[in-house]
Symmetry: C2
DNA sequence: TTTTTAGTTCGATGTATTGCGAACTAAAAA
DNA sequence: TTTTTAGTTCGCAATACATCGAACTAAAAA
């Protein structure tokens, strides 16, 4: 693949990732900045470089970066003798990522438990179904722990 | 727990589920209708009962129900000699739910693969990190199949 | 001390979303 | 045939959201 073609494809991928992340609740500009920091060969951008690259206002970049930092999506580093911040994608580890998934599952699990507890008839259609889901999710979470251990021992 | 207290708690749970589902991209009213159909003892509601219960306009209910049906969240049944539709929560099976999870993981996996392919330097920070994630997700998806089989054989 | 740099904060504005009510419709009932 | 039922569709109003540009700020450089 030619260099210019590759870079063209990177830009298109940023746009695609942008639309994908919008569905995950990020706002358009924010979603595309995530793409930028993941996709491009340059993996650390300053504030002004992002303004330049994405053609958006300083205030928008400022807010987007604060958001992304708050959500733990990106971080910045600085270099001695250079006042600028260099923003980059956070490379969390797999372990943490799984913990996040577990957390969100446990939240849903808790809601399901509450629904079941509040049912008058514990054999109603919904109650039975939700108990089923509960059981499945519990099975899954238990084994997730094992899977995690197995993966870690291999890597 | 007293009957009135239980019902009060159900209402509060519907509100809580509503806010929770809003974060998953459902609109406020739609999110609360989901809660209603999951939580209450009455598990099948007619159009007018939903209008009545939630105090929202017919048009809003009409749109919300269409949306939820489209997304596969709820369905309706009818009874002979009764023109009304009875809306209820869909009780899909665990298997399907896992397939959904896999699908969304494969989508993200695909994006990650594309990012890596387009990197000039395959040993860059992001490239290395993403390869790591890729490996982890692949491991996970493989084992998910086994887990699924194991669960099915037990139930 | 003054100027520059690297952002942040604060209204303003345009656009999207949400929900409403009124009018409409197709099927069933009278 | 007329009326009722069970919703649907359409246009509007209110609100929320995303982004902007201008003014501001704190630290560093000159």
């Amino acid at each position: 693949m030619e260099e210019s073609e590759r870079i063209q494809k990177q830009k298109e991928l940023i746009e695609f990732i942008g639309r994908h992340n919008e569905k995950d609740g990020f706002q358009p500009v924010t979603a595309r900045i995530m793409g930028l920091l993941m996709v491009m060969d340059k993996e650390e951008y300053t504030f002004d470089e992002i303004v330049e690259e994405m053609q958006i206002s300083k205030s928008t970049v400022s807010n987007a970066l604060r958001n992304l930092e708050l959500r733990g999506v990106l971080e910045y580093v600085t270099y001695p003798g250079d006042r600028k911040r260099y923003f980059r994608f956070v490379s969390g580890d797999i372990d943490e990522m799984i913990v996040e998934v577990e957390k969100s599952m446990l939240q849903k699990l808790d809601i399901i438990k509450q629904i079941i507890e509040l049912k008058k008839n514990p054999d109603s259609r919904n109650a039975k179904f939700l108990k089923n889901v509960l059981e499945g999710m519990n099975f899954f979470i238990e084994h997730l722990e094992k899977l995690k251990a197995e993966y870690k021992s291999k890597h």
